[in-house]
């Protein structure tokens, strides 16, 4: 018996909760050689900017344990090139296009939203808030709840009403829930969790940073537990807001883990570099995992890990409470022993 993988994204119904993550699948062309892009949930495009961008110099990527450190620097054709070539191609293949947008000012984001709203066939907009904010000395929008909320409000206000807007958040914040709250209250229809985490590697041969941009975004299975934690926290706070979970999804089991934590969809990213057919494979594996558990609708498992987790929910500021409890327990133990 086939499992019902259909997933709702705003007004739109996706055939599957498995998506290709932004920045790891271009605009789908390369991916389509290995995966039927019409059969996966959607392709989230590489972030589109207003102007063409050459990106950062090489070296841009370096392998790290179970992960990848990268700083391609948003290389892309710009919105004109994207609308002329990439979007029509993606749609001609029967794929659903979630378009990721990036800018350095709130106005750029808003303008991109307008341009995409004029084009037919955009399933959703994902706002990449990981870009440096020109008005805040280059601090990424995602690190500041107010700035993130302002961008989302502008994009939501500029985009056509029937195009859902997702905000992609960075895990590099003290309290991801407060950033999520700012985005949701500014009109975000959903959230993408999480963007790559800043990291660094040094080349022991050249004695220099391994990447030309010095820092890069760490992605891949190395950050999966971090992503799961963020999805969990946001789901606790906003059970009704759809979440795209992303960060090291490698197998159907990983996808299931994200769904249980509260993601309605999962996006496969860095793993595509390792296995270009990963989206189809993970979709198949997820189906098998669900069949093995006698579940016939994927929507049934979304957020299931929260069932009966009320006690945990009370301690929402888990980081402090949890750490305190452990430390306290330890000191009691030591005290007892010492006595």
């Amino acid at each position: 018996m086939p499992v019902d993988l259909r997933t709702r994204l705003g007004q739109l119904e996706l055939p599957s909760p498995v998506l290709a993550a932004s920045g790891c699948a271009g605009a789908g062309r390369e991916l389509a050689q290995f995966t039927d892009v019409a059969r996966i949930g959607a392709v989230i495009t590489k972030s589109v900017t207003l102007e063409p961008r050459a990106g950062n110099p090489a070296p841009r990527l370096t392998e790290t344990p179970s992960g990848m450190l990268s700083s391609p620097g948003l290389q892309g054709p710009g919105i004109d090139g994207f609308l002329q070539r990439d979007l029509p191609w993606l749609l001609s293949r029967g794929a659903r296009a979630v378009v990721s947008i990036a800018g350095h000012t709130i106005r750029e984001y808003a303008e991109l939203a307008v341009r995409l709203s004029d084009a037919a066939g955009v399933s959703a907009i994902e706002v990449n808030l990981g870009c440096p904010d020109a008005a805040a000395a280059g601090r990424p929008f995602a690190l500041d709840a107010t700035a993130a909320g302002q961008v989302v409000a502008q994009v939501r206000g500029s985009a056509r009403y029937d195009i859902p807007v997702f905000a992609k958040l960075s895990p590099e914040v003290t309290d991801i829930v407060s950033v999520a709250r700012a985005c949701v209250s500014s009109g975000a229809d959903g959230l993408s969790l999480v963007n790559a985490v800043p990291g660094m590697a040094i080349d022991p041969v050249s004695f220099r940073p391994a990447l030309s941009g010095m820092f890069g975004g760490l992605s891949g299975p190395a950050i999966r537990p971090l992503a799961i934690r963020c999805v969990w926290q946001v789901r606790e706070a906003f059970p009704d807001v759809p979440v795209i979970g992303t960060g090291g999804v490698r197998t159907g089991r990983d996808a299931l883990e994200f769904l249980l934590a509260g993601a309605a969809m999962v996006a496969v990213g860095t793993v595509l570099f390792h296995d270009p057919s990963a989206c189809s494979r993970i979709q198949r594996e997820l189906e098998e995992e669900l069949v093995a558990r006698g579940i016939d609708r994927v929507s049934e498992v979304v957020g299931r890990a929260h069932d009966g987790a009320g006690a945990v929910a009370d301690r929402h500021s888990w980081a402090l409470a949890g750490a305190g409890a452990v430390a306290g327990g330890g000191s009691i133990l030591r005290a007892t022993k010492g006595g």
């Binding site: 961008r53 390792h274 296995d275």
Partner: protein, 321 residues
């Protein structure tokens, strides 16, 4: 025609298969590995490469390792052979594989070496294991009635790949090693000018580090002969065009410099198209470089794409499939 099809990426797109290791053997400092992969072998042309997942299914090494294919043979339906130095952890893992192990392999990837339609005098320059694809190329050139002169180099004798084959199959074969342990002492760059004159070279094919590709391109520019340069730097993480890691600046037919991917726009480039001195940078006049302004309001970016390919080789000597 086949050449047109794979230039467009339509007819001969790569496949991902599970290939069984047939043989693993040492060749001097290198490991040569033969893998049964008929779907790749039957369509692969000299200069194209394969990308292999290393470390097993739960590997922590996410980058694919990419290798130019040395040879394709018809046994077992089709095998591909590639050569590498078992140094970094991924390559070392691969070198420890044994006959009958199964590998996740993607190919054929990238643009192959274009070959002249009419007989020509070709100089094949290779350094270390990078020279591997030149021997299959020489076979293909011979089919077209072309003569091949080899110029091989490396740090030392045990790093010179294919010296014997070069002597056997080439019209001539010259070797240079940095320590003088085989052939002339020095770099292939030193021997290039004399060789090009002596052999009356019509086309240079080069598979070597950037410095050699740059030198070969500069020399060819002086003699107004074409160079087809196979680059293996910057290193590739996926080989399929997804990661945008292996970019280098190249000038398109429209005169605009773009950051192109070595994996899908190469690995074989027309030498005069690559801005060798600017590899590892974003030239200020590259499309989309900081401060770059679109001419006439944002046309350009999508309009033309760099397409160095078979049609670009020597004037009056157009390609054939």
């Amino acid at each position: 025609m086949a050449a047109d099809r794979d230039r467009e990426g339509g007819g001969l797109s790569p496949v991902q298969v599970r290939g069984t290791v047939l043989t693993v053997r040492r060749v001097d400092a290198y490991v040569a590995m033969t893998v049964v992969a008929p779907a790749i072998a039957t369509r692969l042309r000299p200069g194209q490469f394969v990308a292999i997942a290393v470390g097993g299914p739960q590997s922590g090494m996410l980058s694919r390792r990419t290798f130019s294919v040395h040879d394709v043979r018809p046994d077992h339906g089709g095998t591909v052979e590639f050569v590498f130095l078992p140094r970094e952890p991924g390559a070392a893992w691969l070198a420890d594989c044994r006959s009958r192990d199964v590998l996740d392999i993607v190919g054929p990837l990238g643009r192959p070496f274009p070959v002249p339609r009419d007989p020509a005098s070709c100089l094949l320059v290779g350094v270390g294991a990078a020279a591997a694809p030149l021997f299959a190329l020489a076979g293909r050139l011979a089919d077209r009635g072309c003569q091949s002169d080899f110029l091989l180099g490396a740090e030392s004798a045990d790093r010179v790949f294919g010296a014997l084959t070069a002597r056997r199959t080439g019209r001539s074969a010259m070797i240079a090693t940095a320590d003088g342990s085989l052939g002339a002492r020095g770099s292939v760059i030193d021997l290039l000018p004399t060789l090009v004159q002596q052999a009356r070279t019509d086309v240079i094919y080069a598979a070597a580090p950037l410095a050699v590709l740059r030198a070969a391109s500069a020399l060819a520019g002086r003699y107004a002969i074409p160079v087809q340069a196979l680059v293996d730097a910057p290193a590739m993480a996926c080989g399929t065009g997804l990661c945008m890691g292996c970019v280098l600046p190249a000038v398109g037919t429209d005169g605009i410099t773009r950051m192109v991917r070595a994996c899908v726009d190469g690995p074989v480039f027309r030498g005069d198209r690559v801005r060798w001195d600017d590899v590892g940078t974003i030239p200020f006049d590259a499309l989309g470089a900081p401060g770059w302004k679109s001419r006439g309001g944002g046309v350009g970016p999508a309009a033309t794409r760099l397409t160095p390919g078979p049609h670009d080789i020597p004037e009056g000597r157009q390609h054939a499939g």
